[in-house]
């Protein structure tokens, strides 16, 4: 036991002495949370609008006033022909043009369609602004559950947790083991009286603690800086996260078995691990919009289940009974990966 603890301390020193990496490790969650919480929004705001009008009649003036007053649009240019407006849009000086052709011809909107989602939203907002519908004209009531202000942070906080925990645990453990192989210090460790398995477990413990500290940082920031609710039980959030951290650690162990040099370990974790995590886990892009084949592939990407479970537990505040499926899959994957990693673990170096 004493040996084990001194091994853990040795590994902790490795981490603590690398100040720059430490800074990144703790700076990364903070910066990502701030970026996703505040800067990354798809809200319609500050849409640069060109007004195309030949003769200023009362009706068009009224519509222009409405546009200018709204918080969504700002009128940057006034030109006299649609061609000029098109040129402005092409050179990225404007996003939308509103053409007033005359009293009976109605209004034409020219929209920069390069981003289809935004183009649709701009059109809808502009129509609503220029032609305000009378309220309560329809017996339709709309409710947005869990996230009535449509804040993107609600969606991204669980995703950031999924990405960072995976990155830190899998990448850092695999690299630290491979580095010892590369430098030749692994041989020294393996000929010491400590059992090889203990060496590996002792390597994982500091990263486990580190991941836990980062988890706490993220949760605190989410709650107190971003105002994201922690609606579900904290106990289960932590339990599910610990399962996920263990899963990431066993993945790291597996990578370190395969890779012989740091470069390969880094690239393996960055390209083979990080890309699918970011792209296929439903973090940024919804899984159900993908083609079926990719949906199948995403079924084996562990963060997908973690992010789903966290969205349910944290944001929707459902009980553990509703996330049983995700938790079961995660635990199954953990056991499976850990078994393979331990089975493939080499006591001898070639």
């Amino acid at each position: 036991m004493k040996q084990f603890i001194s091994f853990v301390i040795k590994e902790a020193r490795h981490i603590l002495r690398d100040k720059r990496t430490m800074l990144i490790l703790f700076g990364m969650p903070v910066v990502l949370m701030l970026l996703f919480g505040f800067a990354i929004t798809t809200d319609v705001r500050n849409v640069r609008t060109v007004v195309v009008t030949a003769n200023n009649d009362y009706l068009s003036q009224q519509a222009i006033d409405r546009l200018a007053q709204s918080e969504y649009f700002m009128i940057t240019h006034t030109v006299s022909s649609p061609q000029e407006a098109e040129r402005l849009i092409r050179s990225q000086k404007a996003d939308v043009a509103v053409v007033f052709a005359g009293r009976h011809k109605g209004i034409q909107m020219i929209v920069d369609g390069s981003d289809p989602n935004m183009a649709q939203q701009w059109t809808a907002y502009a129509q609503q602004t220029m032609v305000p519908l009378t309220q309560h004209s329809t017996p339709i009531t709309q409710h947005l559950l869990y996230n009535p202000q449509m804040r993107s942070a609600y969606n991204f906080v669980p995703a950031i947790m999924g990405m960072l925990l995976m990155l830190i645990c899998a990448m850092m453990t695999s690299i630290s083991i491979v580095r010892e192989k590369e430098r030749g210090t692994m041989e020294v460790l393996l000929v010491s009286p400590v059992r090889p398995l203990m060496v590996i477990i002792a390597k994982a413990v500091p990263y486990l603690l580190l991941a836990f500290a980062i988890l706490v940082t993220i949760l605190l920031m989410a709650r107190f800086v971003l105002g994201v609710p922690l609606a579900g039980s904290l106990f289960w959030i932590v339990i599910v996260s610990v399962i996920y951290i263990l899963l990431a650690l066993s993945l790291g162990l597996l990578i370190s078995n395969v890779a012989q040099t740091q470069l390969v370990a880094l690239l393996l974790s960055a390209m083979v691990l990080l890309m699918p995590v970011v792209m296929l886990s439903g973090m940024l892009f919804p899984v159900e919009s993908m083609p079926v084949v990719l949906q199948w592939i995403s079924a084996v990407v562990p963060p997908r289940y973690y992010i789903q479970a966290m969205r349910k537990l944290m944001i929707m505040g459902v009980g553990i009974g509703d996330v049983v499926k995700e938790v079961a899959i995660l635990s199954g994957m953990t056991v499976f990966l850990l078994a393979i990693a331990l089975k493939k673990f080499n006591v001898r170096l070639e």
Partner: protein, 389 residues
């Protein structure tokens, strides 16, 4: 000049002898270009709708059929009570609930993903609204009014409204005026999300290839100890760094060609502006990222450190560049950072050339900004390399 030639030859030998790098350089752009456009769909579709139909009228059943027929929605099933449907949402099996009670429609959407929730509920209310408009045409308007008034009496919304004659008229007027607004969508007429994302993918591939490989280069030599041998030779700082940069420019040239070819062959998407401008932009971006990678490599002691620092910067540069979300929606402090973000200029310019068909005149501003930032970074890369440790 001769020295430079040998140094470049050495770099290529080093890349070729690595078992992993040549395969990565060839496979990575191909894999990304073939898979990612399918993944990066921010389109909202396949929303599962649960219907709680308490009325059981002909109209409500027609509505259900319409929802099932729409390509945005998947009909999740009829539920007998609202709470039962709610259970479905909590389990993650459904996204939206539509409750029909006494001719009133309640749409409740899971808005954890704000875009999906709001767009789903907007589409659904559009379908419901169209259904009602059809009923109006069938002369069922009076019946509906009665229902509204009944609803008012129940005061479920806590607000009073009267379905008076005048109100109705104004509604009619609003509808007709709204129909007068026509929309012309420029450049991306079919609203194809792939067309929007493919230039962004060029940027991502270029960034990862010309960013990460140089980052690992010098620090790799440091760790292997071979840098000391270079340090004791008469090779100048400039030629050493230049010899490190040039291979990555050649790789960048190769990568962008592969990307353009694949976009054309796989998706049939070709740039609508001049091709040479795309190459110029790509080379300027490669200049920035390869210099930036070398700077980080020069200041780092271990590969792990270099990788983490680079990753940190790349994530920030990418997220704040307007690649996924419009920069204009950002708060002003975040918008300020786009003035020094080369990726922002690149994305703006390549989308102008690629999608909007702009020429040199339209992107002169972005080109000069990119060139400036790139030149500063290249000088810094040379300055930060110290021959004496």
């Amino acid at each position: 000049m001769n020295i430079l030639k040998y140094l470049i030859q050495k770099e290529f030998l080093q890349i070729r002898r690595n078992a992993f790098l040549p395969r990565l350089i060839i496979a990575f752009p191909i894999v990304i270009m073939c898979i990612m456009p399918w993944v990066m769909q921010m389109e909202v579709k396949n929303i599962v709708v649960d219907v709680v139909d308490i009325d059981h009228t002909v109209e409500s059943q027609r509505l259900v059929r319409q929802i099932a027929a729409s390509n945005y929605f998947i009909f999740g099933g009829q539920k007998s009570t609202y709470s039962e449907a709610m259970k479905d949402i909590e389990k993650g099996h459904a996204d939206v609930i539509l409750e029909i009670r006494d001719g009133k429609y309640l749409i409740a959407a899971n808005a954890v993903n704000g875009t999906k929730g709001s767009m789903g509920s907007a589409y659904l209310s559009q379908i419901v609204g169209e259904g009602m408009a059809r009923n109006v045409e069938c002369g069922m308007w009076n019946e509906k009014c009665g229902m509204i008034e009944e609803g008012v009496r129940r005061k479920e919304e806590g607000e009073m409204l009267r379905a008076e004659e005048g109100e109705m008229l104004r509604v009619e007027e609003g509808v007709t005026t709204a129909e007068n607004v026509s929309t012309l969508i420029l450049y991306n007429k079919n609203q194809n999300y792939k067309l929007f994302m493919i230039p962004a993918l060029f940027a991502i591939v270029m960034m990862l290839m010309t960013g990460f490989l140089p980052t690992l280069n010098i620090v790799g030599e440091k760790e292997a100890g071979t840098i000391e041998q270079i340090n004791v030779t008469p090779v100048s700082k400039w030629s050493f760094i230049l010899a490190k940069l040039i291979p990555y420019w050649i790789i960048a040239l190769f990568v962008i060609t592969v990307c353009l070819l694949l976009a054309w062959l796989v998706y049939g998407i070709t740039p609508s502006g001049p091709l040479w401008l795309i190459y110029v932009l790509a080379m300027l971006l490669a200049l920035f990222f390869s210099s930036f990678g070398l700077i980080i490599s020069n200041y780092s002691d271990t590969m792990q450190q270099a990788m983490f620092v680079m990753w940190f910067f790349i994530v920030c540069i990418m997220l704040l560049s307007g690649l996924f979300t419009p920069t204009r929606s950002m708060p002003s402090w975040a918008y300020m950072t786009t003035y020094i973000n080369p990726m922002h200029y690149f994305i703006d310019a390549i989308r102008t050339v690629f999608i909007r068909g702009g020429g040199l005149h339209e992107i002169a501003h972005q080109l000069s900004a990119l060139a400036c930032i790139g030149a500063i970074m290249a000088v810094w890369a040379v300055q930060s390399y110290k021959k004496n440790s």
